[in-house]
Amino acid sequence: MSVSVRIPTILRTYTAGAAEVSSEGATLREVLQKLEADYPGIGARILDDKGAIRRFVNVYVGDEDVRFSDGLETATPDGSQVSVIPAVAGG
């Protein structure tokens, strides 16, 4: 399952400046695991010590905030777009 992941500016030091990278996995959890394997250290920025999505990180699969779907178990069909976005914007 090839998935495209959009990387926020503050994490691009891990991706050599790339704003978008490829990953793989049937679920968001697997996609993030592959991302960590390819770009060591990036996983700990997105997930906390307990392996949950950090409080101030929003993750979308397509247009859906995964907090409204199945969280890390959200399915990531082939061709999905995953976006990792700081949550502290707006208001």
Binding site: I10, A19, R54, D65, F68, I85, P86, V88, A89, G91
Partner: protein, 430 residues
Amino acid sequence: MAVARVENRTKTFGPAVDLSCRECGQTYDLGPSFACIECFGPLEVKYQWDDSADAPPVSPVTREQIEAGPPNIWRYRGLLPVPDDVLDKVNLAPGWTKLVRARNLGRELGMRELYVKDDSGNPTHSFKDRVVAIAVEAARNFGFHTLSCSSTGNLAGAVTAAAARAGLDACVFIPADLEEAKVVTAAAYGGRLVGIEGTYDDVNRFCSELIGDEAGEGWGFVNVNLRPYYAEGSKTLAYEIAEQLGWRIPDQLVVPVASGSQLTKIDKGLRELIKLGLVPAKPYKIFGAQATGCSPVSAAYKAGHDVVRPVKPDTIAKSLAIGNPADGPYVLDIARRTGGAVEDVDDSVVVDSIRLLARTEGIFAETAGGVTVGVLRKLLESGRLDPDADTVVLNTGDGLKTLDAVTSWARPAAVIRPSLEAFRGAVAGA
């Protein structure tokens, strides 16, 4: 493990020292940054008095200096992250809005001393002019050529107006289904107004992605990459309330909650005034107000949670319709720390409360003002708000922008021929 700290030697940001992560404490240079690289936590401005070894720290300004200042937020420039010469800059100079002693409303609600801080008196008729004014100065400092934002309506107009006055370009983003008056008043000042098909949270997400894209280069998003500075503008609500009360802090404040930024910064402003010795120290309670159709913070408060689960908004209070509030956790902290609460009211109460405020005080609030007055009533009825303690309720916007909420009852009493006979028959004595 702090990164290099750069002193604000040029005083470009006044008394500000650096940016600090509210979650983990990591510090950063004063720059167009908003989220912590370590933990994604929000960055906020720290000042020279925050780490002061003095107890209490020396205030950079006195009451007398403030009182001698202009009748706008710049009278507090010594407490804000703005250049020392901000008075010489061209801007909308918002603030110093009325603190109305609401005797009639207070009497009706059985309250001893009630005030309405009426921020509809700002240049574009909402509190957003305060925060945008600070963001404009930051945008100038960082050399941005375009001012932008995600907005539930009021902010879009505040940004396009402020950009026009400051000579900057503007491109602002709103949900496409906003109230007509907010669309029109945002577009009237020029710049580019873009409607996004989706909720405010979709707009916000879009802007967060745009900021990392080439298309957003050179843009200052007031509530994204300028957010640490922008948010500080809400401190001026606290400063004004205290000064207008004769340099004292009220016992209770009822504040609307959208992202939660305003409430957290009002608390910050009050704590600063105490810390710097500008007002006597005293306890105060802050109450957060939401519309039931978008009440993730209220729901978390009632459930005893310290995290906020996002919701899909469905309320007429569109200016508060943020389903994923960035500062929600901090609102919970403040409500609990001060002994306040977070409460919500449904849309029918919002409309009824707009009517009550208008009828008793001659203040025509937008829906967000109906939310705060509605929550005030609910808190009084449940005994959580003390009717004998002095209380300030915020009206943050103008009813002219949310006419749809009131057109069902705000109609002429009659339409008659221009004759005394017709008047006597239709209106007089009715």
